[in-house]
Structure formats: C-alpha cells, structure tokens
Symmetry: C2
DNA sequence: CCACAATTCAAACGAACGTTTGAATTAACA
DNA sequence: TGTTAATTCAAACGTTCGTTTGAATTGTGG
C-alpha cells in the first residue's frame, strides 16, 4: 500500500517546499509556510515525511535521482558506442551538463536549480550526508572517464581539475540571475545551446591545459 | 568616541560569530550561542551591532574589505608597471586569487573562507545587497582588465567566461574539505603554491579557449 | 453496510528565537 | 572626587518554531 504513483498531498508538499526553499532558503522556511502554500494541514509533513529533514531530503531526491540516472545513462551509451576506442572529452562533459540544463527548461526545474546550488554550501549534516550518497559514485565514474581522455595527467592533477570544473558547473547551473545582472542583460542563461557550448568549451580547455606549467613572469609575488 | 582600534567585546563577538557561522551556518547559529562562546552578555549584540543582521554584515565586512582592497592594489600595481603595454593574463588572475589564498593560511582565515563560499548562495536580502556592494565595482575592474588581454572575445563571451572563472574560484576558495575527501587525501588544499598554479592555469586556459567553436561529433543529442 | 486502516484536522506542547528594558557597573573627564 | 556617558548585565517580552496528540474524516475490502 505504501506509495502510489502520485499521492496528492505528498506531491503538493514537495512542490510547495521546493518553491519556498528556493526563494527563502531552507532554514528560513517554516513548515507552516509550506503547508499553507500547499493547502494542506500542518501535521501532514510529519505524517508523510517524519520530520522537516525528511521533507528536505525528499525534495532533493525527487529531482536528483532521475537527473543523475540520466547522466549515467548518457555516459553508459558513450562508453558502449566507443567500445574501447577513445571518447571525446566534450561528449563526457555534455553527458554531465546537458541533463541539468534540460531540467532548467521547465519552470519547476528552474526553481530547483536555484536550490541545488545551495546544497553544496549548506552546512547541515543531513544534507551533506545526502550529497555524498547522491554524488559520490557518479563523480568517481565521470572523473575516471575524463581521466581516460587525459592520460598525461597525474591522478592528483586530474582531481584538482575536476574540482575546478565542478565549481564552474555548479555556479553556472545554480546561479541564473547573477550572470544576467552582472552582464547587464547581455548574457542569456535561458539559451541552453549557448550555455552548453560555452561552458563545455571553457571547461574542456581548462582540463586539457598542459600540466605542470610554472607560473610565468609578472607575478605579484610577496608584497608589503 | 565611536570605535577605537579594537573594542574587546566587539572583536570577541565577531570572532565567535565567524567561527560558529562557519561551522553551523548563519541561520542555524543563535545569538545566545555566539554570546556565550564569546563570553559576553546576550544584549551586547544588539548594543554593538543593532541586530543579528548587523552582526552578520560586520563579520563579512571585516575580512572582505581588506581582501578586496589588496586585490585592487595588486591590480593597480600591475597596470602601473605595464604602463600601456600588455599585462599577462596570469598576473591578473594572480592578483585576484593570491590574497584569498593567503588569507586562508591563518586559522581565522580558514574558517572565514568556509563562510565566504556560502554567501553566494544564501538567499537573504541583506547578504545579497552586501555582496553587490562589496563585489560590484571590483568585478567590473577585473573583468575589464581580463578583457583587455583577450581582445578577440566579444563582451558577451567575456562575461560568460568570467562567470565560469568565478565558479571555479569560489568553489576552490570555499570548499577546502570537499576536495580532500573527494581525492582520497591525494590533493592538499593547504599547498598554496600548488593550488595557485593549478587554479590559474586551469582558468587561464578556459579564458583563452578559441571562441565560437561548435560542439563536435559524438554529442548525446536528444534522447528518449 | 460494516469494520478497519489510512489520512486529515484543530489544537496544543515545550523550546528556542531575536529583541527590549531598566537597573547596575565601569570608564572618562572635570 | 563628583558627574556623566558608555557599557554590561539579568530578566523578561512576545513570537515563531518543529513536533505531538487524539479525535474526526475519508477511503477500502469483506
């Protein structure tokens, strides 16, 4: 009897929570605000999700599980068609970026992306645990695939570059309003193809940069 | 009579708040936790900072104002010594990165950096306003300087790349524990020279990547 | 239609929050 | 030292929070 295809109360709670969490933040959103926005009773949250933490987890899981599954399917497809031959770096990056950008096309996807960018910097233990559960395995898979296209990189160098890559990607996926304001309306974050090409070109160039180059000339050095 | 070189109570509050905000987050930290950690009376916060928001602002201002001033001084020095001739891209990036990495050497700097990464994704109006106050001007200065070294880039392309750059930098400056865990201890974020060289090389390669390249072959395309 | 489980509901719980108050204490300056 | 302003302090304010409770309601299978 557990959970059917869609339980109306549960889904209304998830939708309302997602919206309010995105706008005001998780801590700043009370369960009373969520339930009244969803048009359900206050006690429903604890009945269906046990606690506020449970609601938060479900909000993230609902979107991230399908998202990461799609990423893994794309990567699987790449590795199968390649069948031992080399995979292009850009194609791997695409498998990571495209599902996230596609998600952002729908209005619900947009509001979730704002929320997603926050999860990485939220200090709550519950969310950090969830992050590791959700991204631990998939990150290793993508890192390995990227590393295979860049065999001249040491493991340490590769990890650093993947770290930088994630920074650029997270910041881009999450931070839709900031680039618009910063560029004075010049950059359009809803142009998925444009964002996709630019982000992937930028990251690919960074990943491919020749390793172990020393910093050159003109450095500011130690001052004062 | 206003504020002297260092007011003991004020400084103890700022130190305690910085530490607790970094560990547990701003919303999750109560003023009672701050004041008892600082060993001062609860009402001191409202007396010295008017409100919790005022305390938060002061915590950020205390570190970010000197940090951004140092960045601007380094950029000024570069532009003066160059005197019309071209400035190396890496040197500009260094002027942005180095002060932040140096700050992270001290224990207090370390804890603040964790906090700093959070400000970008916090939804509070007060913090977002502060962010624009603090980073609006300096970002324009650095973007312009970077753009001058990459004259083949359109304004739009430049803005996007600066956006990606900021993502990589923010994620790196803020997220010290994550890279260590992700790399299984292989990467050492306290090796300032290493981080500096790797981050700058990565970002410089991304910024320099030839513009308007179309995505090639193997793309996953539309599925399902 | 009845028994029974699943769900919803209004109400209340105790705890913790940011802020305010007014008296007590300390420091500054004549 | 006496006067006055600056600061600290204990206590309380009113509000809001997440959670719990027990009765009312709805849905379901026999």
């Amino acid at each position: 009897m557990e959970r059917q295809a869609l339980h109306p109360t549960k889904d209304r709670l998830l939708d309302a929570a997602e919206e309010l969490f995105s706008d005001r933040g998780i801590d700043a959103t009370s369960l009373r605000a969520v339930t009244s926005a969803a048009g359900v009773n206050l006690a429903s949250v604890n009945y269906h999700f046990e606690s506020k933490d449970g609601l938060v987890r479900s909000v993230f899981l609902r979107r991230l599980e399908p998202l990461n599954n799609e990423r893994l399917e794309l990567l699987d497809a790449l590795e199968i068609t390649a069948a031992g031959t080399a995979i292009e770096l850009e194609a791997i990056l695409d498998a990571w970026v495209l599902p996230a950008l596609r998600m952002g096309q729908s209005p619900e996807g947009k509001r979730f992306k704002r929320l997603l960018g926050r999860i990485y910097s939220e200090p709550g233990d519950s969310l950090q645990t969830l992050l590791r559960e959700l991204f631990g395995e998939i990150l290793q898979r993508f890192s390995a695939a990227i590393g295979r296209t860049l065999p001249e990189l040491s493991a340490e160098e590769l990890m650093w570059r993947v770290h930088f890559m994630l920074g650029a990607m997270i910041h881009t996926v999450a931070d839709q309003p900031s680039i618009r304001a910063f560029s004075g309306g010049l950059c359009d974050p809803s142009d998925i193809e444009g964002v996709r090409r630019r982000l992937i070109d930028f990251v690919a160039a960074g990943l491919r940069s020749p390793p172990a180059k020393k910093t050159t000339g003109q450095s500011p050095g130690t001052r004062k």
